[in-house]
Amino acid sequence: MRIGIPEALLFRRYEPFIRKFFDNLEVDVVYSGPTNGEIMERGIAHCVDEACLPMKIFQGHVVKLQAECDKVVVPRLMKCEFGDSICPKFVGLPELVGKGRAGSKIIFTEPLYLNDRNKLRKAVIKQSKQIGVSKAKVNDAFRAVEEFVRARKQGECYGAGAVSSCEGGGENTGGITGIHDGAIKVALLGHPYNISDSYANMNLVSKLKRLGICPVTGDELTREDMDEQMTGLMKAPYWRFYRENFGKAMALLKKGSVDGILYVSSFCCGTDSVTIEMIRSRIGDFSMLVLKLDEHTAEAGMDTRLEAFAELLERRRQKSKGTVPFDFLKGEKA
């Protein structure tokens, strides 16, 4: 039996573990590969209109795999590592892409609670029949992944790799280290799938680099650093990426290690609409650019925005240093 794994949504984030798990199972696994135009077209054609771009892309990956494989893994992620939720569409992912129809070849739909080891193990073992391997083997694979998780540092486990994967796994630009001091630093925030899918975001990271901007993803921040920022909220946020992005934005801002914030969001994203507003309400007049991705996004418009943003950051920096780069700015003041 051939099992397909869509390389979309949170795949990049959990990639090492997913690969390890299926490698250990020794089953025939096909990965859908990075998003391309055809995948996106297919996704748009098959997905509900109202869904956001990342979901449509995911659907595209699934459609591609449905043609090639006997089963397609569409996980139902209930809670993340720390007990946070993601958007409801993740919980309903098998329904969203499978449309509740039999014969959609979708497996792995047991609810996964990444924060509860036992629940997770049981849920994964329950899948053994669908995968077509013995329970013992699934159990072994699961344990191996657990070992693997323990062996890694937190920063490496979760979240890291988003930016470096855009670069084909080459140089590490994720951390602040290794960047020369003069460059403009921008906090690159948003859902990891928007940041890491270089087809959907039109090579955003390379674009930034070409403009001389160093993207900072804040991956070195720990869970505690982020949680610290939640104080003062009436209700502890329950979305993983609300906590993460809000926390990162606040922490990086306090450290003073970035010149601006670039938030990559998908059009009509429910959780981002809240996150962005909450960040905006806290940062005052600090520069923040929100890029919205959808299937209509034109590259030219994005280039213009990024260029303007880079220029704005450059000028702000000059201004704060007291040197205004162009004379006409002085003229304006007088």
């Binding site: 958007c87 919980v91 449309k99 507003e277």
Partner: protein, 379 residues
């Protein structure tokens, strides 16, 4: 302290009578309107759902009337509704309205103690004893239940009216009277009177109206402004319909029954086995029931960008294809003109009627069919 609450459906009627009886000072926000929506939308974050925009305007209007404390339900992650409180507070503060917030969460999330504590904040100015408070709460719930029963009967019976629109008129008169009522007992009596009146109307039970189910996102279903008064439209079009998600339903499931969530999760549903937030599972549950009970079609309503209902719509797409169950999904946003919605609903109903008449032809009942295959009983 001057209490206020956002408007949804008949919350103005219930809230007014409840706080009046408790002796709590309160204001009722101005009703939702097109201007209000514009005002709310201008101050709302991008891409937020419609209910939020309307609530901003509600609270602005309450602030103008001197309110200083907001009581509102904020339950149910992982949909956005659960984050409303926080975001509303930030947005309102930006507008210079520094409210005190009493957020009612479900018992499973904050526990009984915290909920009671929060509710106690709302009634701290009341002179009533605990016992009296409970009595008033119970009475309010009775009122909600009774009124919703009346509504359900009107929805079911209105197409049988001998004089078109007479049932609808009873409901309207009743609502007006409730808005003027002085106290809960009086209100309950008004509803009971109206029910008698409704039952005494002349009816033609030989009619065969279409039976539809209205389901979808909860706010859009409860607040008539948000769904462009779809109930009035359906009654005018002579359709008998059911709509089960209401304020009373919410109270029953979330407040009165701490295990409501668990029960809903346990309910078997082959198309959507797990709760995904919001009320998407309930939407699908309803649809499956409707299929069993022989309804003619389903109307699914939700505001643009509603995350759980998007998943539900996806399931409906599959259901419509596989089972031939007609579903019309209506996505509301503030830009949509009335005409577009109306055309869709009318066409959907026409389609169902003609389909049904066609089935009659196939089964031998030719009398209602015109020469070229269309029914001639067009209204």
């Amino acid at each position: 302290m001057k209490l206020t609450f956002p408007r949804f459906g008949d919350s103005n009627i219930y809230g007014r009578l409840l706080f009046r009886e408790l002796g709590v000072d309160f204001v009722v926000p101005a009703p939702n309107s097109a201007e209000g929506l514009e005002r709310g939308a201008a101050r709302a974050p991008e891409d937020i759902c419609l209910p939020f925009k309307l609530m901003i305007d509600n609270l602005l209007s309450a602030w103008e009337q001197g309110a200083d404390t907001v009581i509102m339900p904020a339950t149910m992650g992982p949909c956005r509704l659960g984050e409303y409180g926080e975001l509303l507070a930030v947005t309102m503060r930006k507008q210079g309205c520094d409210f005190r917030w009493i957020l009612l969460d479900s018992i499973s999330a904050i526990g009984v103690k915290e909920l009671v504590h929060r509710l106690a904040q709302a009634v701290e100015d009341s002179l009533c004893s605990k016992r009296q408070i409970f009595r008033v709460l119970r009475k309010t719930y009775t009122l909600i239940k009774e009124f919703e029963k009346l509504e359900a009967e009107v929805r079911r019976l209105s197409p049988y009216d001998k004089t078109a629109g007479s049932s609808k008129a009873v409901l309207r008169t009743c609502r007006r009277a409730l808005e003027q009522a002085e106290e809960l007992s009086e209100a309950i009596n008004i509803v009971r009177q109206s029910k008698k009146e409704l039952h005494s109307l002349p009816r033609d039970m030989s009619k065969r109206p279409l039976r539809l189910l209205v389901t979808g996102e909860i706010y859009t279903q409860i607040e008539a402004f948000a769904n462009h008064y779809i109930e009035d439209t359906l009654m005018d079009l002579g359709v008998s319909f059911e709509k089960n998600i209401s304020i009373g339903w919410w109270v029953r499931n979330t407040v009165l029954n701490p295990f409501g969530g668990m029960l809903a999760e346990a309910k078997k549903n082959p198309l959507m086995p797990h709760r995904i937030g919001g009320y998407a599972k309930e939407t699908i549950n309803e649809a499956l029931r409707c299929k069993k009970e022989g309804f003619d079609g389903i109307l699914q309503l939700f505001p643009v960008g509603c995350m759980p209902e998007i998943v539900a719509k996806s399931v409906f797409d599959g259901l419509a294809k596989d089972e031939g169950l007609p579903v019309l999904s209506i996505v509301y946003d503030e830009m949509g003109g009335e005409a577009g919605y109306l055309t869709r609903i009318e066409a959907f109903i026409d389609m169902l009627e003609r389909k049904r008449d066609m089935e009659n032809v196939l089964s031998g009942d030719r009398c209602r069919i015109g020469k070229h295959g269309f029914c001639c009983n067009g209204r």
